[in-house]
C-alpha cells in the first residue's frame, strides 16, 4: 500500500456533452473548488463510452474511471445512458475478476443543473480511490483488442 496522505489518484472522467459536461460547467459557474484529480474527456453521449476506453484508461495509468450520464429518461439521444449503464454493470464483473475494485469504476447521473452533485461525486470518488491507493495492476491493451493483465512495476 502506498502512503495514503501523499498519494493523489489519477482519474479519467467520461462526461456526456448534454447533461453531465454541462453539469460540470455549472459547478464551474458556482466557482466552488473540488479536487483536481479528474481529467475530463467529453463525449457526445455516455453511450459512446466503449468499455475499451475504460480499460485503456487503467492501462495508461488511471487509478479510477468515472462515467457520467444524463438521468434516466433525459438522454439527449433517447437511450444512450441506458446502454452506458448496462455496459458499466457488465464491465464491473470483468473488473472484479481482474482484481480491480468496483470503487475504481463509477457510473452516475448528473444533469445540467446539478453542479453540486457533480462536485460531491468527484470528491467522494477521489476520496474512495485515495483510500484504496494506486492501482497496482495494469491492463495491457494491445493492438488487436485483447486485454491482458500484468503487475504494475
Amino acid at each position: 500500500m502506498s502512503n495514503g496522505s501523499s498519494f493523489e489518484p489519477k482519474i479519467v472522467g467520461f462526461l456526456c456533452n448534454w447533461c453531465s459536461y454541462a453539469g460540470a460547467d455549472k459547478a464551474g459557474g458556482s466557482q466552488k473548488s473540488y479536487p483536481p484529480n479528474v481529467n475530463v474527456i467529453r463525449v457526445m453521449c455516455s453511450g459512446r463510452v466503449d468499455p475499451q476506453f475504460i480499460l485503456k484508461a487503467y492501462s495508461a495509468g488511471a487509478d479510477g474511471v468515472l462515467i457520467l450520464a444524463c438521468h434516466p429518461g433525459d438522454c439527449h439521444y433517447k437511450e444512450g445512458n441506458y446502454k452506458a449503464m448496462q455496459r458499466h454493470r457488465l464491465l464491473l464483473r470483468v473488473l472484479n475478476q481482474l482484481g480491480i475494485e468496483s470503487e475504481r469504476c463509477k457510473f452516475d447521473y448528473v444533469s445540467a443543473g446539478e453542479g453540486d452533485k457533480f462536485i460531491s461525486i468527484i470528491t467522494e470518488m477521489v476520496d474512495a480511490v485515495r483510500a484504496l491507493g494506486p492501482l497496482n495492476k495494469v491492463i495491457i491493451l494491445d493492438n488487436i483488442g485483447y486485454n491482458t493483465m500484468e503487475e504494475r512495476s
Partner: protein
C-alpha cells in the same frame, strides 16, 4: 504535424488561476507543438481577428484552444477557422475555465490540471480529420395525417407559403372532433361558425390549390427520410365525384337503406348514401358499400337516377386505389379518442339507457344531431335532472393516471348548455378533482357554481360508483363507499379521459415513430420540442401527442408548420452534420448489433452486401453503435477510437 496551441487568459478569469508559463513548461518536449500563444480575450472581436490572422500566417495543421467551455465558444472558433481557410474540425477546445480555473485551489494545482487537459487535446487533435458538411436535395412538400384542428391549421399555414400539402383524412369529413359539436368552451362559441371559415379556406380559399385533400384515406407505408419521404396512401372509394358533385343531397333521401349512424354515435339512423351530418365538408355524400343494396347484388340505381347532374356523379365503379406521394416532412395530427367507459362496467355505459359519454352527449346537444338538439330521454321525456360524472378513467392508476385537462371544461359547458335548454333541470357534478387553469376557464366553472340547481359532489374512487336503471325508469347513482343517500337522475353523462386513438399503434408502426408511456405519439422533448416526434422530419400536433383543447391543438399545428417551414425551406438543401457514425465495410460482419441499438433507425443492412450502412440524415452522432461494434467496423466521426485513446493517454501522461 504542426500543432498550434492558443491559450486564452479570458480577461483574468483564467490567468488569475492558471499560470501560462507553468503550462508552457509542462508541454515542453511534445514534438508536434510548433508554438504556444497567449491572448487576453480570444472571443472578443480583437481576439477573433488575432486568431484569424495568426492561422493565416502560421498555417498550422491542427490547433488547440485552451479557453472556456466548448459549450460556450466552440462554434465561435469553428467559424473563425472556416473564415481563415482552415477546416473547423481540425481544432480541439480545452475547457480550462469552468473545469479548471474556477474550481481548483492553488495556482500550481490549477496549472498542472490545465496542462494535463491540454496534453490530452494535443494528442487527440492529431487524429482529427477534416470533415465537411454535406447537403442533399429535399422536397418542400408536406404530408399531413388528420384533418382536425391541428392538421387543418398546419395545412393552411404551410399552403399559404405556396407549398404543396397532401391532407389525408380517414373519415369522409374534415374538421375533426369539434366539427361535431354545437358549442365549444370556454365561451360557448358556435363550433361550426368558428370552424367553417377555416374549412372553407382549406377547400375553396386562395391557397386551396396547394392542398390536396384525400378523405376516406389512410397512409399505409412510409419510406425514406427527412427531406425525401415517399408515402403510400390507400384511398377507399367515396362513390361520388368530389369535384363535380354540388352537394344538393337529392340522392340521399331516395336511398331505401337505413343503417346505424356512427356520426351520431349510433343514436339514430342514416342512409347507405349520406353526408356525415348536415353541413359536413366536403359537401359531397359517400356510399357505405357494406350497406348498399348493390353490394348485395341488387341493381339499385335510385341515387344515381335522382342526381340532377345526370350520370357520372355517382360512381358505382369507384374502386380502392393506392397512390404515392413524395414529400419532405410529415405532420401527424390524428387526434385522440375517449377512454372506453365500458372498461368501468358499473358506470352503465352502453347498458343502462340514457347513460351517454361526452362525445355522444355533444351530438345530443347539436342541432345537426339525432334529436335536432333537443334533450329528451330514450322514453321521450324531458329530463328533470342530469348527472355529469367527471374524471371517468382519469387520475386513476387502474385506468389513465393523467388529467386530460379538458373534460371539466366540457362538463361546465354542458352545465350552461343544459341550463339554456332546460331551465329548471337539476345538474349534478360528481368529480374526483376539478381543474380550470387558463385565463378564461374559470368563468365556466363559476357559472356552473352559481346555478342554484347545480350541485357538486366529490367522490374518491370511480370504482365505487354504481349506475343502474331504477324501477321508476330513472337512473340510480350510488357511491358504495358512502352511507349517505344516492342520487337519481334522468340522464347521465360520463366524461372520460382523452386517450390515444385506436389507430395510434398501427400508425406508429407505419411511420417508425414511437408511443409514450400512455400510448400517445411520443414527442422529442416534452417542453422544448413537443411538436417533433423522435423521427427527424415527422412532426406531431394536437391531441395525438397529449390531451389538449382546440386552442392548444391549433397552436401545435402551427408549431409543426413552423418546424417544416424553417427546416425544409424551399430551394434550400438539407445540410447534414458531419459528426455521424460511419462504417468500414471491410470490417463489418453484418451482425446487426448496431442496427438494433440505434435509436434513430439510422442504420440498415445493405441487402446485397450484407453490411451495415449509416443514413447520415437520420444519424444524430451519439456514437452508441461505435461503442458496441464487436469488430470495430463502426466509427464515430470526430469521436473515433483513435482520437479518444490518444486523449486518454494524453491526460494521463
Amino acid at each position: 504535424m504542426k500543432i498550434g496551441v492558443y491559450f486564452c487568459n479570458c480577461g483574468s478569469n483564467i490567468s488569475d488561476k492558471v499560470d501560462s508559463v507553468q503550462v508552457y513548461q509542462a508541454l515542453e518536449g511534445l514534438t508536434d507543438v510548433a508554438y504556444f500563444k497567449i491572448n487576453d480575450l480570444m472571443c472578443s472581436e480583437d481576439g477573433k481577428q488575432f486568431l484569424n490572422d495568426d492561422i493565416a500566417a502560421e498555417k498550422p495543421d491542427r490547433i488547440v484552444i485552451a479557453a472556456c467551455s466548448p459549450r460556450e465558444h466552440e462554434n465561435t472558433f469553428m467559424r473563425v477557422l472556416t473564415g481563415a481557410g482552415m477546416n473547423p474540425y481540425l481544432m480541439q477546445m480545452v475547457n480550462i475555465r469552468e473545469q479548471v480555473a474556477w474550481v481548483t485551489d492553488g495556482v500550481d494545482k490549477a496549472s498542472a490540471k490545465a496542462a494535463q487537459f491540454i496534453k490530452g487535446a494535443i494528442k487527440r487533435v492529431g487524429f482529427h480529420k477534416p470533415l465537411e458538411k454535406k447537403s442533399i436535395e429535399m422536397s418542400p412538400d408536406v404530408l399531413i395525417i388528420g384533418a382536425g384542428p391541428a392538421g387543418l391549421k398546419a395545412a393552411i399555414t404551410i399552403a399559404e407559403t405556396g407549398r404543396k400539402v397532401t391532407l389525408v383524412e380517414k373519415s369522409p369529413v374534415i374538421g375533426g372532433q369539434p366539427v361535431l359539436y354545437e358549442e365549444v368552451f370556454p365561451n360557448l362559441e358556435c363550433a361550426p361558425c368558428m370552424l367553417e371559415p377555416l374549412l372553407n379556406e382549406i377547400l375553396h380559399g386562395e391557397h386551396a390549390e396547394n392542398i390536396e385533400i384525400l378523405t376516406l384515406s389512410e397512409v399505409v407505408e412510409l419510406t425514406g427520410f427527412y427531406g425525401n419521404f415517399i408515402a403510400k396512401i390507400k384511398k377507399t372509394p367515396r362513390y361520388a365525384d368530389l369535384n363535380q358533385c354540388i352537394g344538393c343531397g337529392e340522392c340521399i333521401g331516395v336511398c331505401p337503406v337505413d343503417i346505424k349512424n356512427e356520426f351520431n354515435n349510433g343514436l339514430d339512423v342514416r342512409h347507405a348514401i349520406s353526408l356525415s351530418f348536415a353541413g359536413a365538408l366536403p359537401n359531397v355524400p359517400f356510399i357505405d358499400m357494406t350497406a348498399c343494396l348493390r353490394a348485395k347484388g341488387e341493381d339499385c340505381k335510385l341515387c344515381e337516377r335522382s342526381c340532377p347532374l345526370g350520370e357520372g356523379i355517382i360512381l358505382y365503379d369507384d374502386a380502392e386505389e393506392t397512390v404515392e406521394r413524395r414529400m419532405g416532412a410529415v405532420i401527424v395530427a390524428v387526434g385522440a379518442s375517449l377512454y372506453d367507459a365500458g372498461l368501468i362496467p358499473k358506470l352503465g355505459a352502453g347498458t343502462v339507457p340514457d347513460v351517454y359519454t361526452s362525445f355522444e352527449f355533444e351530438r345530443l346537444l347539436s342541432s345537426t344531431g339525432p334529436t335536432g338538439g333537443q334533450l329528451v330521454t330514450s322514453s321521450g321525456k324531458t329530463p328533470e335532472s342530469i348527472a355529469l360524472i367527471h374524471c371517468v378513467g382519469s387520475l386513476d392508476s387502474n385506468h389513465k393516471e393523467y388529467c386530460s385537462g379538458v373534460c371539466c371544461q366540457s362538463a361546465f359547458k354542458y352545465n350552461l348548455m343544459v341550463e339554456h335548454k332546460l331551465n329548471d333541470a337539476h345538474i349534478y357534478h360528481l368529480y374526483k378533482e376539478l381543474v380550470y387553469p387558463g385565463k378564461e376557464e374559470f368563468f365556466l366553472y363559476k357559472r356552473a357554481k352559481e346555478n342554484i340547481n347545480s350541485a357538486f359532489t366529490r367522490y374518491l374512487n370511480i370504482g365505487s360508483l354504481e349506475i343502474t336503471a331504477a324501477e321508476d325508469g330513472r337512473i340510480l347513482i350510488k357511491n358504495t363507499l358512502s352511507e349517505k343517500g344516492a342520487i337519481k337522475a334522468d340522464m347521465v353523462v360520463l366524461c372520460p379521459a382523452l386517450a390515444p386513438s385506436k389507430d395510434t399503434d398501427k400508425l406508429n408502426e407505419v411511420l417508425g415513430t414511437t408511443a409514450d408511456t400512455y400510448g400517445f405519439f411520443e414527442e422529442l422533448h416534452g417542453r422544448l420540442d413537443c411538436a417533433k416526434s423522435k423521427v427527424r422530419g415527422i412532426y406531431i400536433a394536437g391531441a395525438c401527442q397529449s390531451p389538449m383543447n382546440i386552442a392548444q391543438a391549433m397552436t401545435q399545428g402551427m408549431a409543426a408548420a413552423g418546424y417544416v417551414l424553417s427546416g425544409l425551406a424551399e430551394g434550400k438543401q438539407l445540410e447534414i452534420e458531419p459528426i455521424t457514425a460511419s462504417v468500414d465495410a471491410q470490417r463489418c460482419s453484418g451482425c446487426r448489433v448496431c442496427m438494433l441499438l440505434c435509436p434513430y433507425k439510422a442504420i440498415s443492412l445493405d441487402a446485397e452486401t450484407r453490411k451495415s450502412s449509416v443514413n447520415e440524415v437520420l444519424c444524430q452522432g451519439c456514437g452508441t453503435c461505435a461503442a458496441a461494434c464487436p469488430s470495430g467496423a463502426l466509427s464515430s466521426n470526430h469521436f473515433t477510437n483513435e482520437a479518444i485513446f490518444a486523449e486518454i493517454e494524453g491526460v494521463l501522461a
